[in-house]
Structures are given as structure tokens and as C-alpha cells.
Amino acid sequence: MNTQKHDFTAAPVQIEELAPAARFSLRVRPDGRAALAQALGLDLPGGIGDRTADGGREALCLGPDEWLILAPEAAPLAKAAASVYADAPHSLTEISDREITLRLSGPQVLDLLASCCPRDVEAMPEGRGCRTVYDSATVTLWRDGPTEFRMDVWRSFLPHVLGLMALTKAELQAGL
């Protein structure tokens, strides 16, 4: 999956850029949620921050009527959603290119995140996600494991985010 590795060393954190996948912002009212879930073949979790995954597709609930949907391919998903539009009006907007996803991992990944993210990331359970900020950039953060995260960063904010991460990484390598 990885197209571009920013780093090959093991410690203390790894910052990798993931290859693009299809990404959608889904907005639908509660009464249309079940219809969309069925069409997309994916349970749409009800609690903000909750995630589900099925057959390579993933959903993250970001708001009472908002989900982030990931899929290997865009077209089938868009088609499936369109088929229920008349009964369950919604907005399914492709944003595959809006963000670039980083995979962040390594024993000190929590320190890396704490350097610029004011949220209590340590307390965030595995398998959840949230919309938050990294310095002044809005990002979506997915916790995949104790020291495994994905971070979706708006494309033009990425150099700034990576610049900050490089500083923090050097700081962590210095060991102080």
C-alpha cells in the first residue's frame, strides 16, 4: 500500500504516507441512515468517534449526521448510494484527493501526537477516530493500535504538518 516512505528506521516514530484510496463524506439524516448502510454494505455507527469496517470499506462517525467512508474503489460506492437517493436523500461527496493519509507508528508516537495535538490522544481507545487539529491544521485521527495511528491531513497543510513532525521526531531522537 505504501507509496512513499518518509522514514525507514524503527525508532522512535515512523511517519509514512499512504497511497490514496477512495474517500467520501456522507451526510444523511437519521431516518435515512439504515438505507444508506444497506446500500453501502457497511454498518454506519451511531456514536461520534465510533468506527466500523467490512470488506475493505470503513466508516467513521464524525457527527450526528456525518460519516467518513473509505473504500478501495470510488465508483461502486457512489453507484450504490445513488440507487437509494430518492428514498433516502443524502450527500455523498468524494473527497479522495482532499486529504492525504499518514500512518504514524512507533513506541513514541503518542509523544509525537502530543507535540501538536491538544486532544487527550493517550486516552483515545483503539479502534476509534476523531476530527481534531495538529497545530493549525484540521485533521482526522484514527487509532488503529496502541502505537498505530492514521492521520488524514488536507493536502495543502501536509508540508506544514510534516515539517512539525520532523522537528518533533528529531527531538525524540535526541532523547530529551
Partner: protein, 996 residues
């Protein structure tokens, strides 16, 4: 090693010498020393000159409250720091330090002439001296004051160090790693809560580090400390030393500054020098302890005069005796222990001079045992010794009567005026204080934050009391966290409890008006200055403070505030709380700018957004300009071209054949849902219902006030889907405004908004040959004018990429805007460049874009509008859907002042002499009117137009639409220009070129 250092004593490493320099001279200290303790070990007390009078000064304290021993430190180029406290800076190999505020040298300072002229530099000196004549202010007074202001030299080089920041969430933050803080942590750590314990010192322990004889739980203080700190570590408590809690803000947000490398001989590569921690704590325990107060008497600032607690610290923590023959002046029991410890360590105690008559018998007995003379009910009335104290003059005091003086020789004079609870952080929270008349001090009262105050910080004294209080605070914090913890008994032996009394100036048999009795050492404020301030009418402590500068130095009055207040209150014959206490403000101790800046400097100072096509622009020599957060290509100069020449070429090339422009920064919002068209009708001024799918339209967005907020071309992709574009700077603002209306005003509408600004890379192609450039790359769409007329939109394939293609123009030429998924932006650009080669395609930047649009009279929101321009003012009445029942701002457009005469309206301007006007230049109707002239408007846009061969300008002018053909006058730096009012459309007014 010097005879002042006691081998084997203290917490320093006697096996590890560290050499450093002070004012060019090399000294040896030990690992674990501060600069101050190492100098004292070498018998050096003189460490600085005072601010105003340049009086010789020695170290007074052993901590961060030090007012005198401020030094410059250096570690190579750019790493000079002034005003470092010698009591805080730890020794490191090769540390270079220097004293401050002296010339030519510390021991002989010509500035000390100010000390002779003492009577001239009274309170309010600046206000009284630098008054008249007014003309002296700029040339004489201000330069003089600026020259005299501040202590130490400002660094002139860029700081090469890194600074870091980190966020930290915790259940409990404990500030202060002394007895109370550790006790609180011991209790809380077992509850399972996340606990952080911070201390500004290099090691935890607080006063226990200076009181090794105390026993807790049957162990010596230091062994107990080792044990308990290991226990805390094992329980997962985060222990942070060299970390100062500098500010306590709303909702238990506490800022910590951690010093990481200043103590290291060789910092690791890339290590940050300091780190600012942003702590969000559920509960906070403040266990900051208390600061010792000096006593106020003539000559209380000579080198060798210091706080008794400081001398005890130098002895027990650093193994340094501060003198051979030490006198002790006190109004508190605690100083006796300093005297006893020093006596036991081999110093002679010249005398203990106690201001009190009644003294605890156990203290008197212990003194007697050591052969120490105790003078009861005595005052100090003077000291002698220029660069080091030689003697102190003492007098018995009986009631108001001051008896005959006696001179006591000494080489150090320890003093204790009692202890002030450290209320700084509590005060940051705006918690209220109450005056405790018994101890003559303020104590924390009503709390505004979830915090608990423990130990000496709330006026308690003695380790047993403080430990018990720490346990209590820990339990309270745990309870507030809805967890449970067990109380813990921490019995103390050899405790050192104590009480004291507090004073204003000590009584004297000499003229109090001549006494140099210092209250604020750092700002050289004396008791006399404070009394003068009161005599001259200052009633509030806030005024007294500012008039005298008492407590206004970098130590923020840690030593002077209470003494100053007591004296001011005495002079006013009021109780201290009626005079008030000045406010403590963050930071608790001086903090470097670097720590505040953190990562936000250099490349990461501010976020800079770049488009997918930016690398091409950079490779092709573009000059960039910032637009909102973006950097955009401004123009593309060829060899030898200046901006004027480059822009003229770009404009001509676009009008003649084809120009290409990176428009990716335009804001884009997808408006989707069954009610999309209704939403658009309500938001924008234009009518949208009859806009067919596949067509687009210029949209105008107003605020409720009817003034223009944003604009952009909007395409209808299907009945339920609009592709909205906004200005580059307006993207986030417009989306927020739309969301605001949608969520609060029209939650019933089935429509959703998604920002797609960064989903698409956008390339604008303009010029008579634009179609010829584009056509070969397009699949699935007929680009002919019949099938794809001006203001059309379609989804198709361009250069093999899925695209949203608009036919629109911001130049007045045949134009297209091609949107492709952002990752392909560069590929699209390169394909168009390749296809355009045959047509001399010319990349152009924002400047050419501005010129071309101005030639057509197209406005730029924020340049030609300023938040007070209505659609009518801007000549955009045609963009208003007159038949629509409502849209944002509609009602305001019929307000009397909006429809009335005399509003500033957007017009074109052409100078009669063909010169170019300045943007922002003011406009007058009659240049011969008397001053001040009535200004009727200003120039909003002005460019040299290569197409037209003369400059053009746009302006807002009162009643401008009715002044067509009139001449107005524009004052410019080199004279007044006559300009004729014209239409804003300078080029191709029929719009024939658009329809090519």
C-alpha cells in the same frame, strides 16, 4: 578546594569538579552546584551591581526568586542569555558567565556615582525629571530612559537553539515537589489516577533538601526522599524536575516550562533547549511553599547579607559555608536553625539578633549550648563594608526607644523576616485572598478552579503539619476524581516548627530619611521611596507600586511585595488589606521567548499552503505572493524582466493567444441535496431556480447588512448538486456562514455542504486560442460555442483525467476552468502546456489575473469592496434576483441609507496626463478647498494596462455613478492628478470576445 566548601557535605558530587568562568576568571565548582553556590564556595559574594544606584550586590537567595545575582551566560554564538539567575543556573563544563550593569568592572563601577546622588533618584524620579520642555522628549529624555532601562544586554544574534512544546492531559497535577507535594502524590498515586508532579529545581524535595536532619517515618529526610520518589516512579507518577509552572489559566490549564539542556555539558544533537508543556489537569494541587522575607534596615543590601534559609540551603545542599563569622538577624524562629547548622559546621556565629523579646526556650538553650550570643529585642540600624559586609550596627529597642548602638563584626549577615506563602499561581486563577492578621500575610481563600492548596503555601510551618496537609490535599483531589485513596500517616522527628513576627522598617536611632533600607533589591526601591509616594498622594498599592516601581522588576516582587505593602499601609495608617495587594501575573519566573514560540519559528512559523501546481511554478522561476494562507505564483519573469515587463508580456500573450493560470486556491463547496436550489436561492442574491443543469452563473453573497461578502461562479451539475466557488481568502468563511444559516435558521432543508477546495486542482485557460489548446485533450464533450456556450459546466475527461469543466472567464477572453482531482493537477497543467505550445501558451500569475480582470471591470472582493459596498454601489444590481422573496441581506438593501444619494460607488478613473495612480490614494472634488479637505473616496485598484497602452484605475467615489465624465483630483506624493470618471469596463465593453 576553598575553605568554604565542606568536603563530603551536601548533595553535590565532591568527586567531580567543573570549571567555569565569571567575568573572565576561572573558578572550580562541583557537579550539582549552581553558579551562585560555586562562587560562594570560592568566597565570592559580589555578583552584581544594582539597577539604579549601581550598588555592589551579592546573592540574597538560593532560588528562583533571586533579585541580585543576575548574570549573563554564554554557550557560543547566539547562545548568550542576560539576566540568568546565578541561583538557578547549574554549573556545566566551560560555562562562561559575566556580571551585569557595571563599568568598567564589577569591583569598581563608575555608575556608582548614582549612589552618591541618592537623594536625587527618589520615587517618581522619571515623572518629575523628564517633564519639561516638551521638545526634549524625543531627542533627550526618551533616548536617555531607553539607554538606562533594563538590566543586562539584549542578545543581538538569532537564537540557534530549538524549542519544543507538548500537550499533557492528567488527572492530577501537583505543583511543587517538596514535603506537601510528595505527600499528596503518595496518596493520589495509589488511587490509579494519572499524576504529574513538577518542581522547578533540578531535584525533588523542596526544603527537605536543606533540612537533612529531619526524620520522616523513621528515616533521615534524604533517605526518605529517595524511597518515596522511587515509590512514586514505580506507581507511574510522572516526575518532572527543572520544570516551572509559569501560569495557571482557565479550566485547570497550566503552562509548564521545562529546561532541558542548560545544565548539560554537551546537549545531544537536535535537543530542544526548553519545552513548554500545555497541561490540562482535572485537579491541581498547589504545593509551592513559601518564600522568605528580608528585613528592612539601612544597608540591608551589602554583599554578604542574605536570607537565613538561603545560607542553610548553601550549607546543607551544596556543602558551602557562606562565611566564617556569621551574624543572624531575625524575627522568625526558622533562622535559628540556619545559625545552629552553620555553627555545627564550623562557622562562628557572631550573634543572633532577634527583634523579639520572647523567644522559645528550646531555641535559647540550643544557642547557649553552642555558645551563641542571642540579643533579644534588638534592631539592626546599619551595616559597613563596601564590596562585602564587615559589620552590622545593632541597638536594643524598648518600646519606642532605641538604645545605644553596638558594632558586631561579621563577614556574612543572615536575615529572616518570616515567610510569605507563594500565592502566584493561585492568584493567576483570580482566586480571592484573605488577610491573616496573626501571621501578617495573605492566604488563599475562595477558589475559582478545581485546585487544592497545601503546606507552607497556605501558611503552615513545620514538616509534620505540612506533610499532613499534603496528604489531605491528595485525598481531596482523589475524591474529586471519584476515586478512593487511603490516608497515610507520616510521622516526623527532629521537626523544625516555628513562628515569627513581621515588621515594617526596623526602628533606628538615625534619620530614617537617610537610611538606604531596601525593599525591592532588583529595582532599588527603599522604604523611604514608599513613604514618599504615600506623602505625594498615592493611596492604592497599585499606584504606590507604579510610582516607586516596587515589585515591578522581573522577580515580580517575590521578596518585596509584602514588605512594601506593610510599609505603605503603615504610612497610610490603614490595615494592609485596605491598601490591597498587587496582582500576580504569569509567568511565575522569567521565561524565554523561545519557550513561548516553540516550533512556531522559521519554516514552521506559520502554515503555508501550496497548490499541486506550485512545484512547477517554483521550477519555472515564479515570484510568489501570499494570498490568505496560500502562496500563489505572482508572475513568471523571464531573464532580465522586472515585474512590470513580465506582467505586460503575460497580459499581451493572453489577450493575443492563450494564457494559463493556476486557480486551485479558489474555495470550492459542494452543495448537495433535494433542497440545494432552495438553499442557494436563500444564500445568494441571484436566482437559481431556472438555472439549468449544465449551466453556471456568477453568484454574489451578502451579509445581513446588505454588504458584499464574497462572490464566485457557481455551476449546477444536476438538479440537486451545485459546485460553488468562492474567493481564495473567503473559502472557510463562506462555508462557516453557510453552515451557520443551515444549522440555525433552516435546519429543515435537506441539503448538505462539503468543502472540496482541496479535492480539485483548478487550471484557468484564457485567450482567443483557449479552445484550440483544450479541444485536443477533451473526451466526451463538444466544446463548440453552440454546444458548450459561455457559462456552461460539464463533467468530462481532460487529458485522460476525470474533470469538471467550466466555460467562464475572469479575463474577458474566451475562457475555461478545468478541475481535476488534486493529485493530477500537475499532470493536467503539463498536458495543457504541451498542447498550448503551438499557440505560444503563456503561464501567468495573480498580478496579470488582476490586470486582466480590472480591464474588464470585474471586482475583487476585499480590494474593490471593503465591507461597506452594496451590490448597487459595485454596479452589480443585475446580479440580484429581484423577484425572489428573500435572500441573505435583501431586507437591508431597502434601508434608507442604502438607497439614498451620496453613497460611495465603484467607478473607473483615467488620469488626464496618463500617469498611474496609487491604490489607496484619496480623492477630492476641489483641490483648492481649505484644509482639511473633504475626501470623497479612494482608489481601489490601479494598474498599467499593456492592452490599452495607458494606466487604468477603479475607485469608490461618493455619488460616483452620477459623475461619469467629471474630473476629480487625486493627491499623489509628487503632486495632484486630474482624473476623469469613467465606466469600470475599459476593454471590450460589448463582451464580444467572451463569446468567441
Amino acid at each position: 578546594m576553598s575553605r568554604y566548601r565542606i568536603t563530603g557535605r551536601g548533595r553535590v558530587d565532591h568527586g567531580a569538579t567543573v570549571s567555569f568562568t565569571f567575568d573572565g576568571k576561572t573558578y572550580q565548582g562541583l557537579r550539582g552546584d549552581t553558579v551562585a553556590s560555586a562562587l560562594l564556595a570560592n568566597g565570592v559574594h559580589l555578583m552584581g551591581r544594582s539597577f539604579k544606584y549601581h550598588r555592589p550586590r551579592g546573592v540574597v537567595t538560593a532560588g528562583s526568586e533571586e533579585p541580585n545575582a543576575l548574570i549573563g551566560t554564554t554557550r557560543g554564538p547566539g547562545r548568550f542569555e542576560p539576566n540568568t539567575r546565578a541561583t538557578v543556573q547549574e554549573l556545566r563544563k566551560g560555562l562562561v558567565t559575566e556580571s551585569q550593569n557595571k563599568w568598567p568592572r564589577l569591583s569598581f563601577d563608575l555608575g556608582a556615582i548614582n549612589d552618591r546622588a541618592y537623594m536625587l533618584f527618589s520615587a517618581g524620579f522619571y515623572y518629575k525629571t523628564f517633564m519639561w520642555p516638551k521638545s526634549f522628549w524625543d531627542k533627550v529624555y526618551e533616548p536617555f530612559i531607553r539607554n538606562a532601562a533594563g538590566l543586562g544586554k539584549s542578545p543581538t544574534e538569532v537564537d540557534p537553539d530549538r524549542y519544543a512544546s507538548r500537550n499533557l492531559h492528567t488527572d492530577l497535577l501537583i505543583v511543587g515537589g517538596g514535603a506537601a507535594g510528595i505527600a499528596a502524590a503518595l496518596v493520589a498515586a495509589r488511587s490509579g489516577a494519572r499524576v504529574v508532579l513538577v518542581d522547578e529545581n533540578p531535584e525533588m524535595g523542596g526544603a527537605l533538601l536543606s533540612d537533612p536532619a529531619v526524620k520522616i517515618e523513621g528515616q533521615g529526610a534524604w533517605a526518605w526522599l529517595d524511597d518515596k520518589l522511587s515509590e512514586l516512579r514505580a506507581l507511574g507518577v510522572r516526575l518532572m524536575t527543572r520544570t516551572t509552572a509559569i501560569g495557571y489559566y482557565h479550566q485547570n490549564f497550566v503552562a509548564l516550562c521545562e529546561r532541558l539542556t542548560d545544565h548539560l555539558d554537551t546537549p545531544p544533537a537536535n535537543a530542544p533547549r526548553e519545552r513548554m508543556w500545555h497541561v490540562r489537569a482535572n485537579q491541581v494541587v498547589l504545593a509551592q511553599g513559601a518564600l522568605e522575607k528580608p528585613l528592612v534596615y539601612d544597608g540591608n543590601d551589602r554583599p554578604g547579607v542574605m536570607l537565613a534559609g538561603a545560607a542553610q540551603t548553601y550549607l546543607n545542599r551544596y556543602g558551602v559555608r557562606v562565611g566564617d563569622n556569621v551574624a543572624v538577624l531575625t524575627s522568625h524562629d526558622s533562622a535559628y536553625h540556619a545559625a545552629f547548622d552553620l555553627a555545627d559546621a564550623g562557622s562562628r556565629i557572631a550573634a543572633v539578633i532577634d527583634t523579639r523579646r520572647d523567644i522559645r526556650t528550646d531555641l535559647l538553650d540550643a544557642a547557649k549550648q553552642r555558645g551563641i550570643e542571642v540579643l533579644r529585642g534588638h534592631s539592626a540600624t546599619g551595616t559597613k563594608g563596601r564590596l562585602r559586609i564587615k559589620s552590622v550596627r545593632v541597638n536594643p529597642v524598648q518600646g519606642d526607644k532605641v538604645g545605644a548602638s553596638r558594632e558586631i563584626s561579621c563577614d556574612a549577615l543572615l536575615m529572616s523576616g518570616g515567610w510569605t506563602p507563594s500565592l502566584h499561581l493561585f492568584s493567576h486563577t483570580k482566586g480571592s485572598l484573605s488577610w491573616d492578621a496573626d501571621s501578617n500575610t495573605f492566604l488563599p481563600d475562595r477558589k475559582t478552579e478545581a485546585c487544592h492548596i497545601a503546606g507552607a503555601g497556605r501558611g503552615l510551618w513545620g514538616y509534620a503539619a505540612v506533610l499532613e496537609d499534603g496528604v489531605k490535599a491528595g485525598l481531596a483531589a482523589v475524591e474529586a476524581l471519584s476515586r478512593t485513596a487511603q490516608p497515610r500517616d507520616l510521622p516526623v522527628e527532629n521537626d523544625r516548627p516555628g513562628t515569627g513576627v513581621s515588621h515594617t522598617e526596623l526602628p533606628t536611632d538615625r534619620s530614617p530619611g537617610k537610611a538606604k533600607a531596601f525593599v525591592d533589591y532588583q529595582n532599588d526601591v527603599t522604604a523611604k521611596d514608599l513613604r514618599l509616594a504615600v506623602r505625594e498622594g498615592m493611596r492604592s498599592i497599585e499606584h504606590v507600586k507604579r510610582y516607586t516601581t516596587n515589585g515591578m522588576a522581573t522577580d515580580q516582587g517575590k521578596m518585596s511585595n509584602i514588605n512594601g505593602l506593610m510599609i505603605a499601609a503603615d504610612a497610610l495608617a490603614k490595615q494592609p488589606p485596605q491598601v490591597g495587594l498587587t496582582t500576580f501575573r504569569p509567568p511565575y519566573t522569567p521565561t524565554s521567548f523561545g519557550a513561548f514560540a516553540g516550533y512556531l519559528r522559521g519554516e514552521t512559523f506559520q502554515l503555508t499552503r501550496k497548490t499541486p501546481i506550485d512545484p512547477w511554478a517554483e521550477a519555472h522561476g515564479a515570484v510568489f505572493e501570499p494570498v490568505a494562507q496560500w502562496r500563489r505564483a505572482w508572475y513568471f519573469p523571464k531573464a532580465g524582466e522586472d515585474m512590470h515587463a513580465a506582467v505586460a508580456r503575460e497580459c499581451r500573450a493572453t489577450r493575443a493567444s492563450a494564457g494559463i493560470f493556476d486557480a486551485s486556491t479558489l474555495g470550492k463547496i459542494e452543495v448537495a441535496g433535494p433542497d440545494a436550489v432552495e438553499f442557494m436561492n436563500r444564500m445568494y442574491t441571484n436566482p437559481w431556480t431556472r438555472l439549468a443543469a449544465g449551466r453556471c452563473r456568477y453568484g454574489l453573497l451578502l451579509g445581513e447588512d446588505g454588504f458584499i461578502r464574497d462572490d464566485g461562479v457557481i455551476g449546477r451539475l444536476s438538479d440537486d448538486l451545485f459546485h460553488v466557488t468562492t474567493t481564495t481568502g473567503g473559502a472557510a468563511r463562506v462555508l462557516n456562514m453557510m453552515e451557520d444559516y443551515l444549522q440555525t435558521e433552516w435546519p429543515d432543508l435537506n441539503v448538505w455542504l462539503t468543502s472540496t477546495t482541496e479535492q480539485w486542482a483548478t487550471v484557468a485557460l484564457n485567450g482567443p486560442n483557449a479552445r484550440k489548446v483544450l479541444e485536443p485533450l477533451v473526451e466526451g464533450l463538444d466544446l463548440s460555442d453552440d454546444r458548450f456556450p459561455h457559462m456552461s459546466v460539464a463533467e468530462c475527461t481532460v487529458a485522460g483525467l476525470p474533470a469538471r469543466l467550466f466555460r467562464l472567464s475572469f479575463t474577458g477572453e474566451l475562457g475555461f476552468e478545468i478541475n481535476v482531482p488534486a493529485r493530477h493537477g500537475l499532470k493536467l497543467w503539463e498536458a495543457l502546456m504541451e498542447s498550448g505550445r503551438a499557440h505560444d501558451i503563456c503561464p501567468y500569475g495573480t498580478e496579470t489575473m488582476h490586470v486582466l480582470r480590472a480591464e474588464k471591470g470585474y471586482i475583487i472582493v476585499g480590494q474593490d469592496t471593503d465591507g461597506t459596498v452594496t451590490p448597487q454601489d459595485a454596479g452589480l444590481t443585475w446580479a440580484i434576483g429581484q423577484k425572489k422573496p428573500d435572500f441573505v441581506g435583501k431586507r437591508s438593501l431597502s434601508r434608507p441609507d442604502i438607497v439614498g444619494k451620496g453613497r460611495k460607488q465603484l467607478v473607473g478613473l483615467l488620469t488626464e496626463d496618463g500617469s498611474q495612480l496609487e491604490e489607496g490614494a484619496q480623492i477630492v472634488l476641489d483641490p483648492h478647498q481649505s484644509l482639511p479637505m473633504k475626501m470623497v473616496g479612494h482608489v481601489t485598484s490601479s494598474y498599467a494596462s499593456a492592452t490599452l497602452g495607458h494606466p487604468i484605475a477603479m475607485a469608490v467615489i461618493e455619488g460616483g455613478h452620477d459623475r461619469m465624465g467629471e474630473v476629480v483630483h487625486v493627491p499623489m506624493p509628487d503632486g495632484v492628478r486630474r482624473a476623469r470618471v469613467t465606466s469600470t469596463v475599459f476593454y471590450d465593453p460589448e463582451g464580444a470576445r467572451l463569446k468567441a
